[in-house]
């Protein structure tokens, strides 16, 4: 199913977890930092930034995380396998033209950007930036989909 998506974000809710999807607004070089090396991924306008919250929780941190990446181009950090901090990572992010959810990877440890850790209920979903929007497949009837508008306003006084 294709969902129109412009500047707003798409929230896909399961019963206990969610995915938040946004389109990249302009091309940039995304740095991915691992323990061993730094990689730079070319990201194009219309590619997707996806945040997964496998245990659910507040949506606002996911909104901020998406903005940190797609607006401020903050590098992604990849934890080494079996890192003790992995269990405390409650929001994970992936960037690319097509992203596939999996519940079979350890969160925060996977540098391949086409994969993102999810809960079991949202596992096996493919999200593709297409036709000015995003294709979600398969779209189960018990997923709840909402559009979200989000804007950061800063006032200095």
């Amino acid at each position: 199913m294709n969902y129109a998506l412009d500047d707003e974000l798409l929230l896909i809710r399961g019963k206990q977890s969610f995915l938040l999807v946004a389109k990249v607004k302009s091309r940039f070089g995304l740095c991915i930092e691992t323990c061993e090396d730094e990689y730079c991924q070319g990201v194009e306008t219309g590619d997707l930034v996806v945040v997964s919250a496998p245990e659910g929780g507040a949506v606002e941190p996911a909104l901020m995380l998406i903005d940190l990446v797609r607006t401020f181009h903050i590098p992604l950090l990849v934890l080494p396998k079996n890192h003790p901090g992995s269990r405390r990572v409650s929001y994970v992010v992936s960037v690319g033209p097509e992203i596939f959810t999996s519940c079979s990877i350890q969160r925060g440890t996977h540098p391949d950007q086409h994969l993102i850790c999810s809960s079991g209920e949202l596992s096996g979903v493919t999200m593709t930036g297409k036709n000015g929007g995003v294709d979600i497949s398969p779209m189960h009837h018990d997923f709840k989909v909402q559009h979200i508008k989000f804007e950061v306003k800063t006032e200095f006084s």
């Binding site: 991924q41 950007q113 079991g120």
Partner: protein, 51 residues
């Protein structure tokens, strides 16, 4: 179904992600690029060549 925070069910070897070495023709930055259209992380130029 996986258990959240539990053991890893699929072990993907770290050498699966292999960046290619690039050099930016505009600023001279050397970096490992992944994906089809590498972009220089320093100056955001796509005028890059494999090093």
């Amino acid at each position: 179904m996986c258990t959240v925070g539990g053991p890893v069910d699929i072990d993907i070897p770290p050498d699966r992600v292999q960046g290619k070495d690039y050099r930016c023709n505009e600023c001279g930055e050397r970096f490992k690029g992944i994906g089809k259209k590498p972009i220089c992380p320093s100056c955001q130029s796509d005028d890059v060549a494999m090093a």
